[in-house]
Each structure stands twice: as C-alpha cells, then as structure tokens.
Assembly symmetry: C2
Homo-oligomer: 295 residues x 2
C-alpha cells in the first residue's frame, strides 16, 4: 500500500476510535439521538480534516496523542454541518455517502438535534483534552470557533450560499462563499496541527497558505465531480448543483477554466509548503489526493 | 426599586452589552444571519441564567468582569435552543416573547444557522475570555458542554421530550426530561458562577442542589402558566402543551398537586442555600421570582 493510503487508513482508524469514546453509544438513551449521531459520523467519511490535523502536527513533531482529540472534534463539527446542510430547508438532500441522510432516516427534528449535539461534544472534547495544556486548548477552541462560525467562517459561508441561490454571482463572490463555507474549517485543521506541534508564526502562515489553496481546490474538484460523475460514484445526488441553480466554478467559467484554476491552486499550495523546512511529504500527498479525487 | 429588580435590570444591561460585543452587528454580512441572531437574542429575554451566574459568582466574591462572558455565553446557548425548539419540525411555534419566532421572520434555513452559530460563538467567547485563567475557561467549557449536550443535558432532554409526545409518561419520566432539557443548563449557570468565585466542593454541591430545585420549579411554573394564562400575558402561544399532547405536571398530577410540588421545591432550594455561609440574598430573591412569576 502506498505511504499515503496507509496514513489515511491509520488516521481513519484512530479518529474513529476517538470519536467512539467522545460520542455516547447508540444504546445509551435517548437512543434515537445517539443512533442518528453515529449514523452520520460513522458513514464512511474520508476524514480529510483529521488527516490534515495529524499530517501537519506530525510535520512539526507533535505526538499523535496530542492531535487526535482535536482531529476528532473537527470531524464532529464537519459532520454536524453536513447533517444540517442536508435538511429539507437547506439543500434538501436524500443521499449522503451512499446512504440515507440523517433526516431521511431519523426525521428532521432528530437530525437537527444530532447536528446540534455534535457541535457541543466537539468543543467539550477539546476542553477536556488532558494531552495538551489548557492554554493550547483555549487557543484551539477559539481557532475552531472562528472557523466554524461567523462572520468569516463555515456558518456565514452557508448563509452566503443560501443568499446566492438563483442569483447572479461573480467568481470572486463564489470564492468568498467557498473560503468561508468549506475553506475556513479545512484551514483551521492544518493550522491546529501546526499550533499543537509548536510551529513558529512564519511556519503557521505557510501552512495556512497551503491549506487555503487546498480548501478551494477541494471545492473546485467537488464542483467538477458534480457535473462529470454519476450519483453512484459520488455516493450523493449528482447534478444537484445545476438542479438547485447553484453557482459553481464550471457554471461561471466553464469546465476547462475550472481545471486550469485547480492546477494553479495546486501549484500555489506546493510553493507554500516549500517555505516550511520540515518533512511535508504527507501534506504533498494529501494535496495530490484532493486534486485527483474521483468521488 | 426593590434590590432584586435593580439587580435584574443591571444584569440585563451588562449581559446585553457583552452579547453585543460577541455577536457581529446586523450590518455585517451576511446580514440576514446576523439580523436573525440579533432578533432572537435581543427579544426581551429575562436573562435568568446570566442572573444566576452573576448572583452565584458574587456570593463567592467574584468580580462581575470575570462572570460576564460566561453569563453571556450561557444566554447564547439558551437562545440557540429556543430558536431550534421553535422550528416547524420541533414545537412549530410562531410566537416567542411576544413576536414572530426566528424561522417565521427569517425562514427555516436561516433560523437553523442562527441557532448553530450562537452555539459556536458561545464556546468561542469563553475560550477567549482573558478575564479568567485558561484552566478556568476549559473547566467552564466542559461544564457547559455537558449541560448543553448529551446524554444528560439539554439536547438529550429535547430528544426525550420529542420521544414522549403522545406517549404515556410517569411523573419520574417527566422530571427526567425537565432535569435535562431545562434543568441542566440552569444548574450549570449557578455552578459556573460558584466555580469562578472559587467556591469549595461542598459549597458547589449546595449551589447545585439549590439550582436543581430552582430549575425544576421554573418548569413547573411554566406548565402552570401554560394552562392558567393567556397568549398575550405569556408572549408565546398559551395552551400549547395540551394542543401538542405534551405531558406536563398539571396533565399528570393535576394543578393543585403541581402547586404543592412547586412549594416543596422552593423549600428544598432554601434549605440548600442554608448550607452556604455567604450572602445568598440575591439567590433567595431569584427563587421567589421564579416561584411567583406570572409570565
């Protein structure tokens, strides 16, 4: 197995084990709530954000033990956002990672609560992470709260996305949505790892540049896949963006220009890593995976 | 003005000022999101939880400066829970504090996001509270996460409440719902103040007993008011519990027995305060206000 595949499967196993400790088992009452949380959390997600936390942390010499809770917490926040994004009043999606979305399976009310409580558990887990100092814990909670929140984080990006539905939007407007909606938490994942590893401000800035490009690239490949791949390959409804009249890179600049922009971002990310005098091999491989992903 | 009324109006002013700093102004994009947050947050709430944080903190000698961010954060969590509870798939309420609920005014998607981000902002605010030590901040975040989360907190209580709709329920089952759904965060408010004030474990336990009784009393008076008062007085839809076939204290044991249970709780709470050798006058007055509230 190539190094990066082994790394990703190792991350998945250790993050899932930590998530299993953080989240009450689906046998604990109220079982419906915990079943819904577990249904969404253990649905075969690729754990890209945890992989970033751990790859960045390792690059700066942090032990996995100090990284794993933050990695799991960020995955909880990401998953809560997917559960809420899929709701009927938002993207109204029936399918996610090849199976029924949380509200389709457990009803809307429970899906809302499952999302709510994943966020609660995420911040609680970092606050209680005895593997790192209280100073570091509050720094990470602030970082992740800003990235997951508003006015330049995940939730504000989701609102911008809603506001843009059916409206004319420029490529800058679209980039702003993505930088907030998905980019901010991806960037925070990399920065969290670097901070836990004790990176310098200059190193953190380089990691931030890398992750910003990676985050946008992730969104571009998502947009490309939505037009080029079928529902079965994606494990979610394909062609959804066009059906929802959502602005995407291909819909604004076309598929070829989107592919060129994606290549530029990959170059920018590699250059940023060049400014970090550490072993950034895993981070380079993660970038390749995002650039070449097929689902 | 009696001491307690002056205290409550002082708390309201200072908590609202702190909330105003934590939450982006409604002119900051995305404006729809921030208008929705402000609409729900500055809707004339009584700020009972912040009052508990501050009254308890003061009893143990904490400066208001060290209490105000935690008080504001808990109000953010409480308000997010109201916004989500009012949603069509939950209690489906049109009216809250005398005006349109968040989703009625801003639509369901924005109401969900407004609730989500209030929770994010709450934990971020405590993490960044430089008036208290990082050790204290992580302790408070853990406390509040547990109280707001699952399996014995606010969200699990809300799920139990949903599960109980239309089902037969015992008085113990009902008490369990309330202890989680509303009691846990009320108790955490009092305990947070005591912790910030440096209370001993014995003192914290006494405060916890006081607040548990107060929290349950709050719910009983809520149930009583729902049957005895009109919509105009309550500022929310009266008779809602019966219409939703929700179990309440009056529906299980009748109105008179509910009033007796409420009196017993008041006595228990006063006894608990007797175990605290500090000036607990404000806490006694808060208890009276909850016991005698008319809306």
């Amino acid at each position: 197995m190539p190094e990066i595949a082994a790394f990703l499967s190792e991350v998945k196993a250790s993050v899932d084990a930590r998530l299993d400790e953080i989240v009450p088992s689906s046998e604990v009452p109220p079982t419906r709530l915990h079943e819904a949380v577990c249904w969404s959390l253990f649905a075969g997600g690729k754990r890209v954000r945890p992989a970033l936390v751990i790859a960045c942390g390792r690059a700066f010499g942090a032990d996995d033990e100090k990284l794993i809770t933050t990695a799991a917490a960020i995955e909880l926040i990401h998953t809560y956002s997917l559960v809420h994004d899929d709701l009927p009043s938002m993207d109204d999606d029936d399918l996610r990672r090849g199976r029924a979305t949380c509200h389709k399976k457990f009803g809307e009310a429970t899906a809302i609560l499952a999302g709510d409580v994943m966020q609660t558990l995420a911040f609680g887990a970092i606050a209680g992470d005895v593997a790192i100092s209280p100073e570091l814990r509050v720094m990470l909670i602030e970082l992740i709260s800003e990235a997951a929140g508003t006015p330049t984080g995940m939730v504000s990006g989701q609102q911008l996305d809603l506001d843009a539905e059916g409206a004319e939007i420029t490529i800058n407007g679209l980039e702003n949505i993505h930088r907030q909606k998905t980019g901010a938490l991806i960037t925070a994942s990399a920065v969290a790892g670097a901070i836990i590893g004790g990176a310098s401000d200059v190193e953190i800035a380089a990691v931030e540049d890398y992750a910003r490009s990676l985050g946008l690239l992730f969104q571009m490949t998502d947009d490309i896949l939505d037009v080029t791949q079928g529902t079965e390959t994606l494990g979610k409804t394909a062609g959804k963006d066009a059906a929802m009249q959502k602005a995407t890179y291909p819909s604004i600049v076309g598929l070829d220009a989107t592919r060129r922009l994606a290549n530029d971002l990959e170059t920018t990310a590699i250059e940023a890593l060049g400014r970090v005098d550490r072993d950034t091999n895993l981070l380079k491989r993660l970038l390749e995976i995002v650039a070449n992903r097929k689902s």
